[in-house]
């Protein structure tokens, strides 16, 4: 049995598709082999702006190079684009924790030669050898981290110790919103049921635990106003008070609070929350691997990342600490040790089935 990545298929079957794909890639990527031009394919929006201001521009000035920035708005389309473009189309890409495993398995990333990065040791130990990065080599360089926590509106919900139970509370029927993502729904349900989200085992049985999780998801479905798909949809839900409680991203809520939505609260419930991290990585076939590593090393400098991270709204993956950083909603005083990361192999094994069942729940067929 032979495994083929998308790229190998293109190489193997030749011209016709390849012409089209290359044409598209030419528009997206920066496959310049000119020295001095580094392609950066990052999250768009405010993340990209912060990266430009605090990393890219100083880096360009210091190294006298040009960084060509392009952006994506979700992990999956980023992976698809890398997958369907010829090698060398991208230099630095930005996988998140939940797609790191896929990116590495699909052979889309170059290993990072950490010994060439003098600021590598600034990273918290957890991030230096991330469990969800398979193999011995490091493929990703975590930049900042966060949680997928709970958002609630204090005008309607009064709680001192927020718990995931709230997302199953019938009092908030039709005022609950959670992300439209089967894997996260399973993870979340497991947390609220007190199961280990990375085994789902109940009394040693995956099947029993899974059934409990599915039941909980079906129960929650009856209370949900809508499943949100993008960060913007999430913001709209809480901003318009369509929903009073649900899951969310700390950075987005922080931005809303800054706009005056003080009634919104972001919390990591007592049962814990799934951690995540956004990483820099080097795309397979990059012709500027060294420069990319210099870029990563540059970003890890205290004076760079301590300005970047509050601007993005998430605490840095390095040890630098300022008042501003400590005040971020996702800040973990234990240096990332408290974050619950998913087990990518476990997910990969079961995700299709979870998706099917989540769809069945949505269609009232569970």
């Amino acid at each position: 049995m032979s495994r083929h990545s998308r790229r190998q298929f293109v190489r193997g079957t030749g011209a016709l598709s390849a012409v089209g794909i290359t044409a598209v890639a030419g528009c997206l990527g920066s496959d310049d082999d000119d020295d001095g031009t580094l392609g950066l394919y990052s999250w768009g929006g405010s993340t990209q702006e912060a990266l430009m201001d605090h990393v890219v521009e100083p880096f360009e000035a210091e190294y006298d190079v040009e960084v060509e920035a392009t952006s994506f708005d979700n992990q999956d389309s980023m992976l698809s684009n890398i997958r369907s473009s010829p090698e060398g189309s991208y230099d630095i890409v930005m996988p998140s924790a939940e797609r790191t495993y896929e990116a590495v398995q699909q052979d889309l990333l170059e290993p990072i030669r950490t010994e060439d990065i003098d600021t590598w040791n600034n990273l918290f130990p957890v991030f230096q050898d991330l469990a969800l990065d398979p193999g011995d080599d490091a493929h990703v360089a975590p930049l900042y981290y966060g949680t997928i926590g709970m958002v609630y509106n204090t005008d309607y919900i009064d709680t001192s110790s927020p718990s995931w139970e709230l997302l199953w509370d019938e009092e908030y029927e039709d005022r609950i919103t959670v992300q439209d993502f089967a894997m996260l729904r399973v993870f979340n349900a497991a947390l609220s049921l007190g199961l280990d989200p990375n085994t789902l085992e109940s009394d040693g049985s995956y099947e029993d635990g899974l059934e409990m999780v599915y039941d909980a998801m079906a129960e929650q479905h009856e209370l949900v106003r809508t499943y949100w798909g993008s960060g913007q949809e999430q913001v709209t839900q809480y901003q318009e008070e369509s929903s009073y409680v649900g899951t969310g991203w700390g950075g987005r809520i922080l931005a809303l609070q800054d706009e005056g939505y003080d009634q919104l609260e972001y919390a990591i419930p007592e049962e814990g929350a799934k951690g995540w991290s956004d990483m820099l990585a080097i795309a397979k076939g990059s012709e500027n691997r060294e420069l990319a590593e210099q870029f990563i090393g540059f970003a890890y400098q205290d004076e760079v990342i301590q300005d970047l991270s509050p601007e993005i709204g998430y605490p840095p993956a390095t040890g630098v600490e300022t008042d501003e950083i400590e005040a971020l909603p996702d800040f973990d005083p234990s240096g990332g040790e408290g974050l619950l990361f998913e087990d990518p192999e476990f997910i990969d094994e079961h995700e299709d089935e979870w998706m099917d069942t989540f769809d069945a729940i949505k269609m009232g067929e569970y």
């Binding site: 999956d76 949809e233 318009e240 769809d359």
Partner: protein, 331 residues
């Protein structure tokens, strides 16, 4: 170039220049310029068609072929594809959880597809009802404001779709226009978002121009003399309408229905933004399978089945309508 205008037969000292010159003068291009040009024109037309076909191949057929191919591949770990033939994907899409004897269809794909088709039919029916009158009016109008009115119909296309859906959310939402108006009338504030009706109304709002324009187009092609002759033969305006205008506007109706139906069934943003937790449509399912699930082979099989179903439905619809047109005049 063939030397059909052979110059003089015997010119012992015929210098080259003379031969060349007579050749040029006798060349088809000069001797029969019209014929020569039409010949080239045909070549040009072939070239143009060739470019079109090439473009189709490149941007339509090649990706389709690729999707068709990988729909028969196996899924490996972590979203990789295993290049080995399997019918598993089609089995999952078409046969899994389908029990024909008891009509117990628990197949999510088919259920979502069915739900999408229902949305498509509802949206098509509503846009037809709402779009016929303006389309007809514009088609018959000889107002000098006609270009402006047409521009107004097309104007929303300048606004990105996502913005139009967000605008619709502002209309239906918690603090939206509709809720405000209903409150003014003395009823309590209500939320009209996140349900079937929000999806359907949003699609209707966005797709209405696709119904109006083809109807406008075919109505504007109805010659005045046909309506006038109906009148001189004793048909009052209402009978003129359903004896002449209505049947002659049918091509536009059919085109509009097909366009709206395809766009509605395949809509992605409307269910994502306006729909409730149960409002799944086929495009969202395929997208999730493709991206979240990283299961390209399965998503490809889904796409292909969807394509075939849509194609069959439209062909059937088209056939049905043209037959109707042929035998429509029963009395």
């Amino acid at each position: 170039m063939s030397g059909d205008g052979e110059p003089g037969t015997r010119e012992p000292y015929a210098d080259r220049w003379l031969a060349v010159r007579s050749r040029i003068l006798n060349s088809p291009a000069l001797m029969n310029p019209v014929h020569w040009l039409t010949g080239r024109k045909r070549a040009l037309a072939v070239a143009q068609a060739g470019v079109g076909i090439f473009w189709m191949m490149l941007f339509l057929l090649a990706p389709l072929l690729y999707i068709f191919t990988i729909s028969f591949w196996q899924t490996g770990a972590a979203g990789t594809m295993v290049q080995e033939f399997t019918l598993e994907n089609y089995y999952s899409v078409l046969l899994q959880d389908v029990s024909l004897t008891g009509f117990d269809v628990g197949n999510i794909y088919l259920l979502v597809l069915w739900q999408s088709l229902k949305f498509g039919i509802a949206v098509t029916a509503i846009t037809l009802v709402l779009g016929y009158v303006p389309g007809y009016y514009l088609g018959r109008s000889d107002s000098r404001w006609l270009p402006v009115l047409l521009l107004l119909i097309i104007l929303p296309f300048w606004v990105p779709l996502i913005v139009r859906y967000y605008a619709w959310m502002l209309v239906l939402g918690e603090s939206g226009v509709l809720s405000w108006a209903i409150e003014l009338l003395g009823f309590g504030s209500r939320n009209f978002l996140y349900n079937d009706l929000a999806v359907i109304s949003g699609l209707v709002q966005v797709l209405l121009p696709f119904m109006i324009l083809p109807i406008y187009n075919s109505v504007s092609k109805i010659e005045d003399s046909l309506l006038e002759s109906a009148k001189t033969m004793g048909a009052n305006p209402i009978r003129t309408f359903y004896e002449v205008s209505l049947p002659l506007s049918l091509p536009g109706v059919v085109a509009g229905c097909i366009l709206v139906f395809i766009l509605a069934v395949g809509s992605f943003l409307a269910p994502a933004l306006l729909g409730g937790p149960g409002d799944q449509m086929i495009a969202n399912l395929i997208e999730r399978t493709f991206l979240q699930g990283q299961n390209w082979p399965l998503a490809s099989a889904m796409s292909f089945v969807y394509l075939v179903v849509l194609f069959v439905m439209i062909t059937a619809f088209n056939r049905f309508v043209s037959l109707d047109e042929l035998f429509g005049e029963g009395s």
